[in-house]
Symmetry: C2
Subunit: 154 residues, 2 copies
DNA sequence: TTGAGATAGTTGCATAAACAACTATTTCAA
DNA sequence: TTGAAATAGTTGTTTATGCAACTATCTCAA
């Protein structure tokens, strides 16, 4: 018999969606209220470029857990808004390097502050230890379902 | 200073998406492999009807954490597939009662088994206590961001 | 009694997701 | 050396989301 056979239906709802959707909506709202006109999905791409600029699209796929078509289209939009720019890799013409523009870099501080604020709202009255457990469990869930994923990268 | 000021950027990624996306993709794949041609979003609607049949669309919104247009369209699709049926409320003509058909009821056992199986895959090597903490924290996150939400309903 | 406001549901528009099928380039082994 | 397989990226199709604006019905207080 399954170890987790109790109330798994409910568990599905918990892990899948409700909290993450609420957080996403709130961050989107906070961005909008600040007059910043990007979606959270676009923000996520920028976030990874702020951590390390000039990544390939494939690398952005790995880091954002999205598939290649999704990244292609997100980058299309961000390039149209002049927040980043595609350029060819010197030695490998298959690869697009995606680099921030000044406008893209300019969004970093404001939006990270908004994201932090959003997480503060979300995590009121949740203590550090509990947060660590949630992080570890959700990472474990991910790894269980993606055996060959890049290790521990969040 | 914020209580949760450590690595909140990473936290965002954890709570928002990566695990829930992985679970959703896996469940979708398991459904597909079993030859069952519905999306997980559609499945979620059916799930709540299996728990309690003949709910209003508004009630389905509350229970699935989706907005009204989303539910309208999911129900459009499910009605087209003859898995459920809209009917008018006797006393209040604004309300659509959404009830399962025999075909809709027939999917219950098979797909719940697949969902349980999926959650077992996802939660390998995660113990009960940790799961309870994750449930509690994510519910807390949701409540923090949705002050007037229906209590504890998962 | 009536009409303003609340509630239930629908439609339109923009964005994003998954998946399959496609092109271009590179790698590597026979 | 060359060509099959691998890798990087794009396009098409279907489905779903959020938000705003809309219609229909109901409630309740002046």
């Amino acid at each position: 018999m399954s170890v987790n056979q109790f109330k798994r239906g409910e568990l599905y709802s918990v892990i899948n969606g409700m909290a993450s959707t609420a957080v996403a909506r709130r961050l989107q709202k906070n961005l909008r209220n600040a007059g910043i006109d990007i979606t959270i999905e676009q923000w996520t791409v920028l976030y990874h470029l702020w951590k390390e600029d000039c990544l390939s699209q494939q690398e952005l796929c790995n880091r954002t857990y999205r598939d290649k078509p999704s990244i292609t289209r997100l980058i299309d939009k961000l390039e149209k808004q002049k927040l980043l720019k595609r350029s060819s890799h010197k030695n490998d013409k298959r690869i697009n390097l995606v680099c921030l523009t000044d406008a893209g870099r300019a969004l970093q501080n404001v939006t990270l502050e908004l994201a932090n604020q959003t997480m503060d709202e979300a995590l009121q009255d949740v203590n550090k230890e509990e947060i660590e457990i949630v992080k570890r469990v959700l990472q474990k869930v991910y790894d269980n379902l993606n055996p060959t994923s890049p290790e521990g990268s969040i």
